[in-house]
Amino acid sequence: MTDLILYNVSNGLIIGAFYVLMALGLSLILNLSGVINFAHGGFLALGGYFAYTLAPYIGFWGALLVSPLLVALLGLILERTMIHRLYGRDPLYSLLLTFGLAFIFEDVTRAVWGATGLPFTVPDFLTKPLSSQFFFVTGYRLFMIAVVAIAVGGLFLFLRFSRLGVRIRAGTFDLDTVSTLGVNVKMLRSFNFALGIFLAGLAGVLAGGQLSLEPTMGANLLMPSFVAIIVGGVGSLPGTLLGGLLIGVAAGLTAVFWPAASDAVIYVMMAVVLLLRPRGLLGEEGLLT
């Protein structure tokens, strides 16, 4: 039993890692621009599909880097042409815009790559179990965790120490002041948006290796990511990280005792957090509320 629980906690961490990548991207965009990006799942799916198409030419490793960059570029274009017009308006409008974009993404993905699921093959050495005792620890799962850890660690270092990163964090609290200080807020937001989308694209490539590619694959990961943000506290990136891992572990643990409830448990957690600590675990009072 202890073994089983241990396995599931580690599994939960792996699922949580997915949520974290997705939720951090959402959170970045939400914090600085006040946009709930419904199309985030669509970007994720595109990341996987781009990698699928590119892998035969530039290999898995090339695709792992190039595909998220391409998706980020697409995100940047959409931000410059459409989404930036809605900054400062009621969040309703950006929400509806990205909702519409999500429709278009799903449809275009289906039109280009077909409705049938596509197999995305990862290098052989990654798919083998590492030991027969801990058979569930495949190379790919370790690899996924490593990639997520590097991406998340890199993101936090970037936000903590680079000039751009510090400005993004400052903008989350008080964009007006940052603007007064002479920072080009327009560029800052565009860059930040592309960064968030890059994370979605990366999650898409990783998900492609674990699941099969389908036009609707991103939509399933979107809701848990929302919950991760709320549980962790809107406005706090460490909160999002914590929220993602927590709901992953909670879902994993519930799967041991009561599998039927494993997707409902995250919403129960959210309700409890909202009742006891409405701003979320690491959220700051008064921010975006």
Binding site: L4, N8, N11, T116, G117, P119, T127, L211, S262, D263
Partner: protein
């Protein structure tokens, strides 16, 4: 005043009738020109899009065929395809639209059993023949059967019975279930358990939420139970994902895997190493002894660029069924067609399988042959990913009508 009105009306009516009698040639000509309309409702968008599009492709090829061979009652056939978007409300609305506005003579669909059942409510109320091409839930030709509803694809129970004996015989009697936690999954699992209990086997299992991304928790439990066979009831993308992970963890060296359906559309979506296990095919393209099948395969390849799947055959057969029975009964009227379809046998060029499938009178289910066998990485032809080991006749898999729970009330 009232009398005058009535008289005017009568006169006008007589004039109309007279003109109709006087110009019969023009009227028949006009009637010959108006096409016979067939409505098809399928989830062209959403999670079932791949299989739904296959059904539509098959149906379109059938319509071409029929028009080449003289149409229905000498009239051209027109197929109207509507997207149910995998949403019951939309599906019902589309069925109403096809019947009320487009005046179709037959409705085909839906892949999603829930939509098919809800549509059956509309079609039976309106008295239109309804052919369910690809919704598998027992209830369609079981406890929720209707006088006007006929089904081409199998019931879930038939799919289970098609493979269960093979599994017990060849693979063993200790099973572990991986079952999606919703109505369809439960009914499949129950049917499997009935078979297993009769054979004196043992089992354990997990109910898995739909759309689960990570199966390791369930696979760990399966490994600990150490069964002969993992019965994988997951469908569509969930089936593909769970099999990928099953192989990824190396469990394929420890136990066999089996389940009801592993459709060609899904076979194409898994990497070669995950092409394993014992399954039922409701129709399979590789039937070297059957010349009609070769013609059909060539036709479908020309139309879609792919080797046909069971779903292509469902669509094809559904449309042909309507054409054949309408020409046979010389009518387009729902009640007449439904009576004529009871016990109706499909000719070999439509059946495309060994034996003669027919629509069983008691529950309106097509008694077609099932192909039980094993999946494997493609050999030669990229679509040669499945080898048939045994053929199971429909009647044997379906069991007696009395067990389906269907009583047909003619209205």
């Amino acid at each position: 005043m009232a009398q005058v009105d009535r008289r005017t009306v009568l006169k006008a009516g007589a004039a109309l009738a007279g003109s109709a009698l006087a110009t019969p040639a023009i009227l028949t000509y006009g009637r010959g020109e108006s096409p016979v309309k067939l409505g098809m409702v399928d989830p062209l968008t959403g999670v079932y899009a791949a299989v739904a599009l296959s059904e539509v492709a098959g149906a379109k090829v059938a319509v071409e065929d029929i028009n080449k061979k003289g149409g229905i009652l000498g009239r051209e056939v027109e197929l109207l395809v509507e997207d149910s978007a995998n949403n019951v409300g939309t599906g019902v609305q589309k069925a109403r639209k096809l019947i009320d506005r487009d005046r179709v003579n037959c409705v085909i669909g839906d892949v999603n059993s829930a939509i098919a059942l809800a549509m059956a409510g509309v079609t039976s109320e309106k008295g239109v023949l309804h052919i369910v091409s690809g919704g598998h839930t027992d209830a369609v030709t079981g406890k929720d059967c209707h006088w006007n509803v006929f089904r081409v694809c199998n019931t879930t129970t038939m799919d289970v019975n098609g493979i269960a004996d093979t599994v017990i015989e060849k693979l063993g009697k200790k099973w572990y279930f991986l079952t999606p936690d919703y109505a369809y999954g439960h009914s499949v699992q129950d049917a499997f358990i009935r078979k297993l209990k009769a054979a004196g086997g043992e089992y354990a299992g997990d109910l898995v939420p739909l759309g689960t991304a990570d199966y390791s928790a369930h696979l760990i439990k399966a490994k600990a139970y150490n069964p002969d066979v993992l019965i994988n009831v997951m469908g569509g993308g969930d089936q593909v994902n769970s099999l990928k992970q099953f192989v990824g963890f190396g469990l394929n060296h420890q136990m066999a895997v089996s389940g009801t359906l592993f459709e060609l559309e899904s076979l194409r979506a898994v990497p070669p190493e995950a092409l394993i296990g014992w399954w039922t095919m409701e129709w399979w393209w590789d039937q070297p002894d059957n010349p009609h099948v070769k013609v059909f395969v060539d036709k479908m390849r020309k139309a879609t660029g792919h080797t046909p799947s069971a779903r292509n055959w469902f669509g094809y057969t559904s449309v042909w069924t309507f054409a054949l029975v309408a020409n046979h009964a010389k009518s387009l009227e729902g009640v007449k067609l439904a009576h004529a379809l009871e016990g109706f046998k499909l000719p070999p060029e439509v059946a495309l399988q060994p034996g003669t499938p027919y629509y069983r009178p008691g529950d309106h289910e097509l008694m077609s042959t099932m192909f039980a066998g094993e999946a494997h990485p493609a050999k030669g032809n990229p679509d040669n990913m499945f080898t048939v080991h045994s053929l199971v006749p429909g009647e044997k898999a379906a069991g007696p009508v009395a067990e389906t729970g269907c009583t047909i009330h003619w209205s």
